[in-house]
């Protein structure tokens, strides 16, 4: 976690509509954080401070809530967010091999982002597409019945499209 003084300050005005709707509604912290993440792509520290100030709570509590839930990110994500399902069905059908293939090919850890900022990789709880297992989502698109070879083809195609090869 960076100190709030590091990096370029976030444009807090973007959050004003969200705060005006929810700041005074008790129990809305998670909703506000979700909206903030939609706006900024992740939760910058200065944004969390701002939310704490505006909702009359403490930064420690905002931090505590934000770090409790897996949905929240504290670093910008890559252009392509790969979410690999590790639900039971996907697990039984070999999601670990897919994870290995992705990590080896992109040199990225679970939760990390590639150096070029193109891909973020995250192993997630059940996506609910169990009959297509193993499954992953890249941004909005779902890919099912994966094999290590198939996954590499998909990633190579994206890289080619982005001129990253």
């Amino acid at each position: 976690m960076n100190c709030r003084c590091q990096g370029a300050p976030s444009d807090l005005s973007l959050l004003a509509p969200v705060l005006s709707e929810y700041a005074a509604v008790p129990g809305s912290l998670i909703t506000i954080l979700q909206k903030a993440q939609e706006i900024y792509g992740y939760l910058p520290v200065d944004v969390m401070y701002h939310i704490a100030e505006q909702t009359g709570t403490t930064p420690a509590r905002v931090m505590g809530v934000a770090t409790f839930y897996t949905q929240f990110r504290f670093q910008p994500v890559g252009k392509y967010l790969i979410m690999l399902c590790d639900g039971t069905a996907c697990h039984v059908n070999g999601s670990a091999r897919i994870a290995d293939a992705v990590q080896e090919y992109l040199h990225v850890e679970n939760g990390g982002t590639t150096g070029d900022g193109l891909f973020s990789f995250s192993i997630v709880a059940c996506l609910g597409c169990c009959s297509l297992s193993p499954v992953m989502m890249i941004n909005e698109d779902t890919y099912g019945s994966l094999t290590p070879a198939k996954v590499l083809d998909i990633l190579k195609e994206i890289r080619a499209k982005e001129g990253a090869l």
């Binding site: 008790p26 129990g27 949905q71 609910g128 597409c129 169990c130």
Partner: protein, 585 residues
């Protein structure tokens, strides 16, 4: 004939390409007068995308595994009424039997109505129960009595009698009460709640309205997983339509009954499926369970009397009110009434959603409905209840589906995940998988769960990695019992179940891993040893070319060898070899 087309567009169908099929059909049908509609998920996930051709309410043809390129001939068939050109797409009788053996109550409208249309839902009977209650002066006590007669029990996992919770919340003093729907379906391998919301949101809304009326709540809140964006979207729309139609808001149907609806998106925490953790999360806090008592019926959301049920439970309510508690209670066993939805996944031939009356056997569901194991392998076990449940081995396949009978096996009914495993599934590794999950999902509050599940996971990890020690089985058992006894909430108390149940039925697999450093299912890579048999190897070089780490060497037409120090045990060589020259031990 007035044909209309409906494309099944649940998340699963969309993932399989249903949206693309729909997009391909739309321009072809433009101007033809043939309506192109959307329905939710029928539950036959292995056949997605599915396109249904209706004549009025009558299903004329169900087309399966449809591709966008099939659109022209489907459009033509719909226009001219001649289905012979698409006969290859029509579902086989064998597959169609999947539905016929079910009894659908919670899923009664799923895959049939348009989830984005309240009219479609009303045509299927939505809001008749609440209308009857409010119009004909059915009292909350009557409603609770009806639910009591039905024997409906919570479908989220614990199986607690629904009427009891409703009654407790009703009896709790206080004007301000809340009715909450737990749609934080977190069990990996269960997706019926998502299917209901995506396919038939009004049934959920109506069930919740009846519940709110029964306990005296003025506000109903649906806590949905953030991973279910489509469900949230459809539910939002449905709530809007219901409000416009006068079913939500102040003085519903001109009575004293008022009820507001709200959706709250979860943010990713399995523990929020535990009701007190869910309440904490609804209040914008870390989802850490509270001590019980007090129970939510006495002090729940904002410490006011609250009732929490899951989606499937509420989805049964309107049907029970319409058909009477006795009709529901007529189905099932002495101990468990009505139907239950299961998500059949894993190594099953027909994976999808199944709703059956309680009292069927596991064999009925897995073999008769699910079609048995995919790929001709042998059935090994079925995992039920996810991270809180356990596995049931082949010899207990004739166990009757019933809360008590399942609990006696060491598994639980749970929310209805049924993950089928074949002989290639390592049970130790399965136990580890679930402990990886619970350790990651532990909220960290109590010692037994925070450290206990972590230590269980570490012990299991060393066993599957070939570093198991003598005494590890006993250590696992001791720790499992301690965590079960000592953890604060249901997540922690049930976390040891997958370990205890696999130890109960597959102890020999643990022993093989620990003492012989051998994985009988050949899946724990650290314990595998691949070998090329010189007598069978023809030196075709196929395996050497396929090997991702160049661990295989040899000259053409000469037997090859595997360098064990390089081998990563990926198994690609075995898959490549045409001469069965490679074995794994």
């Amino acid at each position: 004939m007035s044909i209309r087309i409906a494309v099944g567009k649940g998340s699963c169908g969309i993932a399989a390409g249903a949206a693309k099929v729909s997009e391909a059909l739309a321009p072809l049908l433009a101007g033809s007068g043939i309506p192109l509609g959307t329905v939710g998920c029928i539950g036959m996930c292995w056949l997605e995308p599915i396109v249904d051709l209706y004549d009025g309410d009558a299903l004329k043809a169900r087309l399966v595994q449809v591709k966008p390129e099939d659109a022209p001939r489907i459009a033509d068939a719909a226009k001219n009424g001649d289905f012979s050109s698409i006969s290859d797409l029509i579902i086989t009788d064998d597959d169609a039997a999947f539905l016929q053996k079910q009894t659908r109550i919670a899923l009664r409208n799923c895959g049939i109505i348009d989830p984005d249309s309240i009219e479609s839902a009303k045509a299927a009977g939505a809001y008749t129960a609440i209308s009857h209650i409010l119009r004909d002066g059915v009292t909350p006590e009557d409603v609770i009595a009806c639910i009591k007669i039905s024997g409906l029990a919570g479908r989220g996992g614990a199986g607690f009698p629904t009427w009891f919770k409703w009654n407790a919340a009703r009896q709790s003093p206080g004007e301000e009460k809340y009715l909450i729907c737990n749609a934080d379906e977190g069990d990996p391998g269960a997706f019926m709640d998502r299917a209901v919301i995506e396919s038939d949101p009004h049934t959920l809304i109506e069930g919740m309205l009846i519940g709110a009326y029964a306990i005296g709540a003025q506000e109903a809140i649906v806590y949905v997983r953030a991973e279910y964006p489509l469900a949230i979207k459809r539910l939002e729309r449905a709530i809007g339509e219901a409000r416009a139609a006068g079913y939500i808001g102040k003085n519903i149907m001109d009575t004293d009954f008022s009820c507001e609806f709200r959706i709250k998106a979860g943010a990713g925490a399995f523990v929020c499926g535990e009701e007190t953790a869910l309440i904490e999360s609804l209040q914008g806090q870390r989802g850490m369970p509270r001590l019980k008592p007090p129970f939510p019926a006495a002090a729940g959301y904002w410490y006011k009397p609250s009732n929490i049920n899951n989606v499937e439970t509420y989805a049964n309510v309107a049907w029970i009110l319409n058909n009477g508690g006795e009709a529901f209670a007529a189905m099932g066993t002495e101990d468990s009434k009505g139907t239950k939805v299961f998500a059949l996944t894993g190594k099953i031939r027909r994976g999808g959603l199944v709703e059956i009356p309680m009292g069927m056997t596991l064999r009925d569901v897995i073999f008769d409905i699910g079609g048995g194991i995919r790929g001709g392998k042998a059935f090994k076990a079925v995992q039920m209840g996810g991270p809180s449940g356990g596995c049931i081995p082949a010899e207990l396949l004739d166990t009757v589906i019933d809360y008590k009978k399942l609990a006696a096996t060491g598994a639980i009914m749970g929310s209805g995940g049924m993950v089928v495993m074949d002989e290639s599934t390592c049970m130790v590794s399965m136990a580890k998988f679930f402990l990886d999950f619970t350790a990651k999902e532990s909220c960290g509050k109590c010692i037994h769960c925070r450290i206990g599940t972590k230590r269980l996971q570490e012990i299991l990890t060393r066993i599957v990695e070939g570093r198991g020690r003598e005494g590890d089985i006993e250590l696992l058992e001791e720790l499992c019992n301690a965590v079960r006894d000592g953890a604060l909430c249901g997540l922690g108390q049930t976390a040891p179940n997958p370990v205890l149940s696999t130890l109960r039925y597959f102890r020999d697999e643990f022993e093989a891993h620990i003492t012989e450093k051998r994985c009988p299912a050949h899946t724990c890579t650290d314990l595998l040893h691949y070998e090329i048999h010189a007598d069978k190897c023809r030196g075709c070089t196929a395996c050497a070319r396929k090997c991702p780490v160049q661990a295989i060497s040899g000259t053409v037409k000469q037997p090859h060898v595997i360098d064990q120090s390089k081998c990563i045990r990926c198994g690609q060589c075995i898959a490549t070899c045409k001469f069965d020259a490679i074995t794994v031990e």
